[in-house]
């Protein structure tokens, strides 16, 4: 027996969820589908290829207040921010589920743990939604993810006929399933079969694109002319990095009002001209070439060396949104096509 959430019960499922959790879900707004905190189950949609913004926003928010500080009687009082609450993020696609695992490593592994991120991770239940029809920009399979991969979800929904086949993957998922228990029907469905169907779905772009050996090849391509060839068209905007579910660069800034203030951690983008600009004005990445290289080397080489995986899940947002087509797919193809011999001498 497998649990199934009938299509007609979806709104109730969300409503029941909201009894115990705050809800973040895909909402269509002015022609785009964004992930957003919502209190209205009616506003939640499921007919999207993927949301424009990714779930990382809710674990690693664009602006994070880390602490407040206040000067009183010559002393400074610091009050740290702690995130509290129970939250469900609904409708996360397999690629984005995968991305959470990638960011987890950055904030969890090694000497320091990133408590702000982890607090949110621990208290958030992620409801995944398998993809029935991968789009022209999808290439998750390039990175070993399939339209049905549940890794990263606490509870996974597989659209099937008139409902969603439910797979509970973690304790958090179990808790949510219990919370919504009355809505889940036990049906005679073969979960493995359903999963297999999703896993076998064609992802045209991803099925043809391979990253085999790309990381290793890039070891020798730091000075390769491909960067000079790719970078001129970059606009230097932050669309790719801000929409990317795996990008995680940030900067710190203080906002001060009189004798009190806050320290903020805000997203930064390696494509911005002031990225890594130092106080004296020097920037080790002075032109678009260095910045574009940084982005792709980070994703396809540096991260691989550190964590053994590529920092991309093939969600296709950069393909969809980069105004000048400076996309992961384009770069991987370029790298695949380029001979490593022509290493240019530093100009």
């Amino acid at each position: 027996m497998t649990k199934v959430l009938p299509q007609g019960k979806l709104k109730d499922f969300l409503k029941d969820t909201m009894d115990k959790y705050s809800l973040v879900a895909p909402v269509r707004e002015d022609g785009v589908v964004v992930l957003k905190p919502t209190a209205d189950p009616e506003a939640v949609v499921t007919d999207y290829l993927n949301t424009v913004t990714s779930p990382k926003d809710f674990f690693f928010p664009q602006t994070e207040r880390m602490f407040r500080f206040q000067k009183t009687e010559g002393k400074i009082r610091v009050e740290e921010t702690t995130w509290q609450g129970k939250r469900v993020i609904f409708g996360v696609r397999p690629c984005d589920l995968g991305s959470l695992e990638l960011i987890d490593r950055v904030f969890q592994e090694g000497e320091y743990e990133e408590t702000y991120y982890l607090a949110r991770r621990e208290n958030t239940t992620v409801v995944g939604l398998a993809c029935s029809s991968p789009g022209p920009t999808c290439f998750c399979t390039t990175f070993g993810i399939t339209p049905g991969s549940p890794e990263g979800a606490d509870l996974m929904l597989y659209p099937d006929g008139e409902g969603f086949v439910v797979e509970v993957l973690t304790e958090k998922g179990e808790a949510l399933a219990q919370q919504t228990e009355t809505l889940l029907e036990d049906q005679d469905v073969d979960l493995a079969e359903v999963k297999g169907r999703f896993e076998g779905l064609k992802v045209p772009l991803g099925d043809h694109l391979s990253v085999d050996g790309v990381a290793a090849k890039l070891d020798g391509m730091f000075e390769h002319p491909v960067w000079a060839e790719l970078s001129p068209r970059c606009l230097g905007c932050g669309i790719c990095t801000y929409l990317c579910p795996t990008c995680h660069c940030f900067g710190m800034t203080d906002e001060v009002r009189g004798d009190q203030g806050v320290r903020l951690r805000c997203w930064d983008s390696c494509q911005f001209s002031d990225f890594t600009r130092m106080a004296g004005g020097h920037n080790p990445r002075p032109t678009k070439k260095e910045r574009v290289r940084q982005r792709f080397m980070h994703k396809l080489n540096y991260y691989v060396h550190r964590f053994g995986r590529y920092l991309c899940t093939g969600c296709g947002r950069c393909l969809e949104k980069c105004p000048v087509g400076l996309t992961m797919v384009h770069v991987i193809e370029k790298v695949n096509d380029s001979g490593t011999r022509e290493v240019a001498v530093n100009e």
Binding site: R65, R68, E255, R257, V262
Partner: protein, 152 residues
Amino acid sequence: MSVERAGTGVSTAGWEPKIIGFCCNWCSYAGADLAGTSRIPYPCNIRIIRVPCSGRVNPQFVLRAFQRGADGVLVAGCHPGDCHYSTGNYFTRRRFLLVKRLLEYLGIEPRRFQVRWISGSEGQKFADVVAEITEQVKALGPAKMDKMRDVM
């Protein structure tokens, strides 16, 4: 910076609006001085920032005032034709005709932001303008262009 008071549910008990006035040194600041020397009383809600010319007032200053919680902003300069620097206030006029309309377009109550020509001899006018804008802003209630709403 906000829409009408109705329905905002903001409690206004004990609230006094804070209004920032940018006054050009040669006319409006002098006009405010004259209101002082003539002991013409006006509401205490206004805080004057002295600028050499109303043409020095960057629209971003006005926005910053609202951003940080001002309930009203007044820009005051010499009457057209009387600018100490000949032409500064003509630029002021062009800029703020647009700003006023843009703010209104963004849904911000236009009476919160006013531009007035007040000469050095118009102490009474200065006092009247302050009284008028204070009254209007009071009627509108607190501007809640939220002070760093999500963050601070």
